[in-house]
Every structure is written in C-alpha cells, then in structure tokens.
Symmetry: C2
Subunit: 446 residues, 2 copies
Amino acid sequence: MGPAHCTEKKEDRVCYAYDAAASAYLPDAVVFPQNAKQISEILKLANEERFAVIPRGAGSGMTGGSVAVRRGVVLVMTRLNRILNIDKNNLIAFAEPGVVTGHFHKAVEQQGLFYPPDPASSEFSTLGGNVAECAGGPRAVKYGVTRDYVLGLEAVLPTGEIIRTGVRTAKGVVGYDLTRILTGSEGTLGVITRMTLRLLPLPETIKTITAFFDKIDAAAETVSEIIRHRIIPRTIEFMDNASIRCAENYLNIGLPTEPEALLLIEVDGTEAETASAVNALELLCLSLGAARVETAKTKADAANLWKARRAVSPALFQYGPHKINEDIVVPRSNIPDMVRKISELRDKTGLFIASFGHAGDGNIHFNIMLDKKNKTELEKADAAVDALFDYTLELGGTISGEHGVGITKSPYISREIGSAELHLMKKIKVVFDPGGILNPGKIFPE
Amino acid sequence: MGPAHCTEKKEDRVCYAYDAAASAYLPDAVVFPQNAKQISEILKLANEERFAVIPRGAGSGMTGGSVAVRRGVVLVMTRLNRILNIDKNNLIAFAEPGVVTGHFHKAVEQQGLFYPPDPASSEFSTLGGNVAECAGGPRAVKYGVTRDYVLGLEAVLPTGEIIRTGVRTAKGVVGYDLTRILTGSEGTLGVITRMTLRLLPLPETIKTITAFFDKIDAAAETVSEIIRHRIIPRTIEFMDNASIRCAENYLNIGLPTEPEALLLIEVDGTEAETASAVNALELLCLSLGAARVETAKTKADAANLWKARRAVSPALFQYGPHKINEDIVVPRSNIPDMVRKISELRDKTGLFIASFGHAGDGNIHFNIMLDKKNKTELEKADAAVDALFDYTLELGGTISGEHGVGITKSPYISREIGSAELHLMKKIKVVFDPGGILNPGKIFPE
C-alpha cells in the first residue's frame, strides 16, 4: 500500500486504539487499504506471520468491536468510500464500506429514494460498520434493521479469498445465506469490501409528534398500546426524565423538564395517511395519560426534537466521566415492566441512571454514569447491569438489540446463548478463520 | 415413536417417494415424529447406523429437496402442526413446522394480523417447508420473503442437539445469525421444530387490477415503469398468452385469450391510499400500451383472478406429461430483455413454453411442457434451460428466486456460486452435519 497508508507511529496508533466503548488497546500498526486485493494480501500475510487484523470503520461502535485487544494491525476501511451506483430502476445501490451512513442517506434521498437504517451515529458511522454490527436505529419499528437491507456482499475471507455473496435482486435462494451470516458477525468472519443495498421509495411526508407524560408508567403503557392498536409509526422514541433534563441542559431548546417521560413519535406516508395517523396517535396518547401532545409545525421543529434525542448519549457525560451503556430489548408489551425495574434499580443503588431509546421495538438504552475509580460505585453499577440482563432474559428479551457483543458483552453471552449454540458459532468461526487472525478476542468469552 | 408412526410398507414408502419435482426415490422407511426429542433420537441413531434422514413437510417443493436420493428415512413433519400462540401485543406468533401456511394465514387474519409470505402452494405447503426453502410468493414485491418474517427457530442439529436461535423481539444481534443460515438451507443443516414468526397489522383494504396487453413487451416495460415511478404494489403478477389460455381452458372463467400478456396488480393500505394507487396504476398501464385495465369490483372477482393465476402451474399438464419449471430472477429493469429471450427460445425450439410469475420482483417462472420420452424434445428443452440460465446470470440475476436448488438445480449451482463460496458452504455443512446424514445429495453437485 505504500508508506503513506501504513503507520507504526505511536501517535497514530493511539488514535486508533479505542472506539465508543472507550477502552484503549494499542495496535502494533494501522493500515489504510484502498481495495479488496490489498486487504487479501494483508490477511494472507497475517496468516503466515500470525498477527491479528482488526477491521474498523469510524470507530463509533459501542462494545469494543474494533479495538485491538490482541494487538496486531488495525485495518481502517475509510478509504473505500465510494457510492458506486444508485440504481433507481431496481431500487438498489452498490457502495463501499467506508461510506458514511449519513452521506449515503442524503445521496439516495436526492434521488427520491430511502435507506431506512439510521443508527444515532449515522453522521459519522460507516455503512460497513453498520453491516458488521447489524445496526438498527429508531426507524426499525416500521422498517427493520440493517440486515433487512443487505442483498449481497463482497468480502475478503480471513484466509484471503475474495468472495461474493447474495444477489442484486429482490429474491434469491441459491446456496447457504452467507450474506446474513456475515451481517452482524462483528468483523470476525470476513472484511466487507462492497455492499449491494436495498432501497425503498422515499415516503412523501413525515410528521413528528411529542407526547409528554407526568408518569413514566403511562408513557411505557402507551408504547405497547400503540402497537396493540396496530398502528406502526416509523419511530417511537422514549426519553425518561433524566434523559430529558440532560438534553435540555446541553442544548437549551426549551424542552419542559418536569415530565417523567416523553415519547417522540414519527409517522410517514402520504399526506392523508400521516394526517389520520397523527390524529389517532394524539387521541391515543391523551387517553392514556399524556399531559400534552404536540405536533411539530415545521421541519426545523422536528429536526430540533431529533437533535435533543440524539444529544442524550453524548450529553450524559455531564453527569460522570464514565458511562455504562447497555442496549437491551424486551418484547414491546413488557416495556412497562422494564421501566419499573429500572426505577427500582435507581432507587436501590442511588446511581445516576438514564434510560431512553427505541421503545417502539422494545430496545431501551440503559445508561449508568459514574466514576469508575470509585470502587463502590463501580460494584453497584456492575450488580445493576447483572440484574438488568437477568430480568431482560426473564422477559424473553435479548442483551443486545443493535450494539453487538464485542468485548463489553462477551462475559454475558452465555446467559443468552446456550452451550450447543455457542459451540456451533465457534466452529463456524474456525471454518471462516482457521488461523484465528481476524478480530480475535471478540464475541466469545475466553 | 411406536409402530403407528413408523412404516416400512412399500405402499407407504411409495407415497413419500416424490415431491412436486416429480422424480421418485424410494426411502427405506417413513416416520412421523411428534416432537423435537423424538427427532433428536432418530438423528443420533442415524449417525450411529449411518443412514440418511430426509425432513419433509407437505412434499410440495419444486426441486426435489425432500426426496430420498440416498434412501434412508423420510421424516414427515406434519404431526408437529400446532399454532402455539399468536401474540397480538407483540405482533409475533409461535408455530410448529407442520402447520399448513394457508391455515396460519387464516388464523392470524382472524385476529387482524398478517403473515405476508404466500407461496402459490400455500393451501397445502407447510410453514416449516417454507422456512427451509425460504419461500417467496407474489406479495414479496412489497413485503419480502419468508426470511424477513423468521425471528427465531428451534431446530434439531443433525448430531441430535436441540438448539434455539434468534430472538422473539424486533431486534437482536447476539452471536452469529444461526436463524438465517438455517432459513433457506433446504433441510440440510437442521430439522426445524418450532418457529417464532413476525406478523404485521392486516392491511385495511386490498384492490386488484388486471391490465391486458396486446404486446408482451409493453407488459414487461410496464412492470419496470411502475417501480421506476416508485409505486410499490403488493403484487405485480405476469402471465403470458400461453399461461392465460392455459388457465382459461382449465377454469372457463371468461378471461380474454387474445392478449399477449396480462398483469395482475394488487395494492393494499387504507381506503384513500389504495384508491389513489389504483388511479395512478390505471393511468400508467394505459399510457404504456395496455389495451384494457379493469379493477375487480368484488372480493369474489378478485378471488377468481387469483384462482386463474394459481391454476396456471397445475393446468399446464394439459400440454404435455412433463414439466420443466425454473424460477429465475432478473433485475426488474431487465424483465423486457428476459421476455424477449423467452420468445426467441420458443421460436427457435418450437417447444411449448409458458412463462408467468412474480414480475414485480423480477421472478419469472419459465415452464416447458414436454414428453421426456421424446429424446429430441428433451435435448431441446435442456439446451433452452441452459441458455436461459446463462442469460439470467448475464443480466445479474439468480437461477432460483424461491424454489431452492435441491437436486434439479445442483448441476447448475457452480454457474452462479464461485468455488471459494461453494467450498465455504460445504465446510459449513460439515460443521452442522459431520456424519453427512441429513438430507444428503442436495444443493451441492457431486
């Protein structure tokens, strides 16, 4: 690749030692390949010389998926950043993994098309990272997650072969589904170098509603009641009082800080459709105890609300230098139970706990802010996470909706995945990566 | 399982020797298990004694996926036929694999819910078979295929372990995606014993349009033009003149037999939405050369049209004792090219060729009716299929949209799937089935 795209300087290695999970592991080198062939050569060399290779998009992952826990070479994919084609006739696009998701959104929307997956990090995270983690986001309620938009992939196997999986058509069932086994495999089975993505027509209209609740239980009940009424908004986001205060403190946009919770609900479709959905949702929220329901009058108003919602996660650092952030999912009808459990944990531990997230699909981001140097706090926090995971699984949920396992959740994976299933997954890993060189130390507990 | 659920009688074995691909392979025995534990014991025994086990739903598969090509024991799954729960609050259902798809449709629709996958065989095919093949159907244009509705599975591995995969929630990314590697694996990686399926709210209204075209090219162009206008009907079905005549001959429902092609288009949604979509579609079809466009006035009229569409496949046997039936898919914008190619092949070979199918997603069912005892006809037909597959792949398509590979397409798989990818798939097969006892002789060419 030439010396310009390969570095062993300490100051460069430090820059690529962390991701959003905020644990630093210094790699031995950082390389910036430009194509599949270079990646293939690096991986072949890694097998010969037995060093680890860790693929990395923008480093915005929440579970340490792209950090060099076994040293080795960080493979930064950001130079593979071309949108190769947006095919309006077939509603598909071909893109490289280093394309920033938000840029891709804009590019397809300019052509009247729509790529639904929208992780909160979309302004900086990459499509390749999104596929590797099977990223979700608010719109998953109606539109599903990244997996549902990946039709095919080009990937470099850990052994260096370049493979092509899937199809570019709406249907295709020839052979085993390599596309979906790679999707969500957290960069442990192959390095994605090209993607065929499914697009939809851009919805005509979007309407944004905010419902404020004096009682958090009422907000939680409303979420499941909306689904029970068979209304599928494109998002149903939830913020508890701590999250509301946190966003308002940070942005000063005039959010009322007294309500125990708010729901940020969006519907899309034709003008007539959205008008009638807004009507139904307003009535439903009010009848279930909302103190106030507002419909955003302008795009700028709606954008402001989303700015508040997206600000919560970074703004939480006002309340402590460290964050423990979990993205559990429970069946939608159990959101009220989970909200009560979180209140209990807050009362019991005295910790600063904020919860917010994609309530529409049962995906709650549970955040504890603390100073990890304070041993007592850390112990309490670990115990709270422990209790939370157990309760999540008891309700039939999962310990990760969209962030993956990485390193932060690997100690807990065997609570959710049985030993026969884990054994099978490990054998699949060996089939793809007999040398164990690709992103080692992730997902599976040691 | 007791002698009542296990038979070695020749007359029973003959009944389970075939599927809809119509090649017979006599198994050594037929068993009718009732639960996962029995299946586990059978599979363990099969590994000890080295006999083949072939899972089978209703035997309606089109590619020989459930026939006993290496003898052994046919595992008939139809006694596992309970719908365990339809959860309206979370829009999911739990079901056993032997449930007939059409029964499941009715059961969820009675509760105002909707399970979109609708293979033409849905009145007799089973959910388990649908998952094993990743069945599609007309509604895939808008709603996707079976894969998009499988959240989780219980399955018995070929080695006898009972595993649970996936989640019951809308999101979930813990570990590798075993759910989707099992889906579409054609009964070669595990025996599905329970499914968690995603449901949608039942659309309020459905409207059905028929557009008749004097020129087949105009019909094909209309399909891609609809998508280009970013209208996504729930179905866009296509029938060529041979298919129209065939259905009319069989049913006598008054279809005009002169048009070169018809499109059967359905839209769903609210009353207002469907009304405006029908309007737009009528204008579009007429502007692109439709001679006549009709909207079904009653549910009975619409049902009649679907009866005609579904009758084509069985009714084709009026034109020859044997059928060669391929389910190629091409990018939607290439449907006109494919339609021209099929006309060329018809002119060149003089064979009876009918094509129809799910044009909305580029999935065309190409049927040659012939007498296989006539060697000249058979050679011509084989050459036509050969040319068709090559052209399909040249256009960026796939040789199977929903029927799978089974035995009838395994000689062709390496035209679509590269050797590194095939090698990987075979190694995955060995991980799941080291003894090679589950449904051997399928998918991979010998």
